[in-house]
Symmetry: C2
Subunit: 99 residues, 2 copies
DNA sequence: TATGGTTGCTACTGAATTCGTAGCATAGAC
DNA sequence: GTCTATGCTACGAATTCAGTAGCAACCATA
């Protein structure tokens, strides 16, 4: 085996998206940037320390960046939400099936 | 507003997928069913109590079910992984961009 | 019958994470 | 100066997770 763990890129992404609040934050930013406090409120008032941690994580992952109007998705972040769009339709069918 | 919170189905799904280990478990079951212990090992040896909780959660969500050979994805679970496939390509571009 | 292996799962302790709230420092607007 | 909004830190309490031990049921084989 080589020195680098050769972990599939998808596995890393799954870990990232599987971290609590990460998907939610991306989702809340999908349309427009939000201030720290607005984002906090959108996420149901999660604690600022956790939000801060997640924002740092998302910044180093190049999915979120600081903008004039607060925090917003990078182009890459936008493209991820684009790829995730089919998920919305799937979610509706799924919810109906749970009745 | 109506009596039910009318929370978008996608929001519920995001909450579910944002729960620790949930995406990972679905990912590990993507190709074939695994026994409880094999699944535990595939997830890097997470504690059986957490795995048990997540499996119960995924069962009530109709994404995972018990099969002869252990735990496997339901048809619905399979279809979710199908929808998520474009994520794999996106992940590769993303990882390259992080260098 | 009994011996051994696998499996699904519970129990328990300590470590890590998150929640919930208070509050500070900075930066405009008035 | 005062007021408001903003980004963020601090800290104790509550929750969750990690890590390990072990049990009961189910085979298979002898």
């Amino acid at each position: 085996m080589s020195e680098s763990a050769k972990r599939p890129a998808l596995a890393d992404l799954i870990d990232l998206l599987g971290t609590k609040w990460v998907m939610r934050i991306l989702w809340e930013l999908r349309e427009n940037a939000l201030t720290f406090r607005a984002l906090q409120a959108a996420c149901g008032g999660l604690s600022p320390s956790v939000l801060n941690h997640r924002l740092k994580l998302l910044e180093t992952s190049r999915l979120v960046e600081r903008q004039q109007s607060g925090y917003g998705l990078t182009d890459q972040g936008q493209s991820l939400m684009e790829v995730q769009k089919p998920l919305a339709q799937w979610a509706q069918r799924w919810q109906r099936s749970l009745t």
